[in-house]
């Protein structure tokens, strides 16, 4: 895997670190959006 990345000129360790962060941001971002959505719907339902 590392060799494949190296052949493409991509640093595997950096790619892995950034991918983990991108996934965290994605999940946390959608969790936040979902919570905000729930809050908004509660406000609307009052």
């Amino acid at each position: 895997m590392r060799r494949l990345f190296a052949a493409a000129g991509v640093d595997f360790e950096q790619w892995k670190a950034l991918t983990v962060v991108a996934l965290k941001l994605d999940f946390r971002g959608s969790a936040l959006t979902q919570r905000q959505g729930e809050h908004e719907s509660r406000v609307v339902n009052r």
């Binding site: 360790e13 950096q14 892995k16 950034l18 962060v21 965290k24 941001l25 946390r28 971002g29 936040l32």
Partner: protein, 255 residues
């Protein structure tokens, strides 16, 4: 060490930086000053490998910034004037990411991250998301990120911006000790009394050109000024601040 020769950069027809010749030795803290739009950030962006010069050469830590940008980036720490952090990460996770990008092993990155967060009084907040941090707390994280891999050369663009007096004192002392260890520091700031007290040498640029180079004392005496602030005003074009202020107030009163 930082070394530039005839370093220039054009943005279309505008010459942002013109023929800068600079040499900053290990152990030096160079105050890099200039009015807004003088070319300071352009210089720093070239030296950190973010943009290319249109003419001239620059070497940082012994490597050419155009030919060997990765070697340069491995050896530098950079605190930008404005930075976007990953708001959904915690301070600890952000520093872990920076450690990974610098190929540090996890244990060393963890140890240094904890040390730096403790230094800046952020231990209790290290598992909080960065979106919950104040401007000063975010600035501390940025400084910690610039130091975590123990770089040879540091580029600091307004590093004390947003910091409280205690944190600013800590940063100034850390920088002095890093310079004492032989690291090279380029310090951009508009707070001239801080620059005067901290920096071993000062370079002033205006309209993309170097207009002064020397110690604060040398620049003051060369311009016949009592303070560095006065010398800066004389060199960069604002000669009669009191008259300008009076004219402004008169204009306001007339309106």
């Amino acid at each position: 060490m930082i070394e530039t020769h005839d370093l220039s950069r054009e943005y279309g027809p505008k010459l942002a930086l013109s023929g800068l010749n600079l040499r900053v030795e290990p152990g030096e803290i160079l105050g890099f000053l200039g009015p807004n739009g003088a070319g300071k950030s352009t210089t720093v962006k070239i030296l950190t490998g973010m943009i290319r010069p249109t003419r001239g050469t620059a070497r940082v830590a012994g490597f050419d910034v155009v030919e060997q940008p990765l070697e340069v980036k491995r050896r530098i720490g950079y605190v930008p004037e404005t930075a976007a952090l990953y708001d959904a990460l915690t301070a600890s996770e952000y520093l872990e990411l920076i450690g990974c990008l610098h190929h540090m092993d996890r244990k060393t990155a963890d140890t240094r991250s904890n040390e730096l967060l403790e230094l800046f009084g952020l231990t209790a907040e290290k598992h909080q998301r960065l979106r919950e941090f104040s401007k000063g707390m975010r600035q501390k994280v940025l400084i910690a990120a610039a130091l975590i891999h123990r770089p040879e050369v540091l580029f600091l663009d307004e590093p004390l911006d947003g910091l409280d007096a205690n944190a600013a004192m800590v940063v100034k002392e850390v920088l002095k000790q890093l310079a004492g260890q032989g690291r090279t520091i380029l310090f951009c700031s508009h707070i001239l009394d801080v620059v005067e007290r901290m920096c071993t040498r000062i370079v002033i640029i205006s309209n993309g050109q170097q207009i002064a180079d020397g110690t604060a004392d040398a620049i003051r005496s060369a311009t016949g000024s009592a303070t560095l602030e006065e010398a800066f005003s004389r060199l960069t074009g604002v000669r009669d601040v009191a008259r300008l202020a009076s004219e402004f107030i008169s204009a306001l009163e007339r309106a």
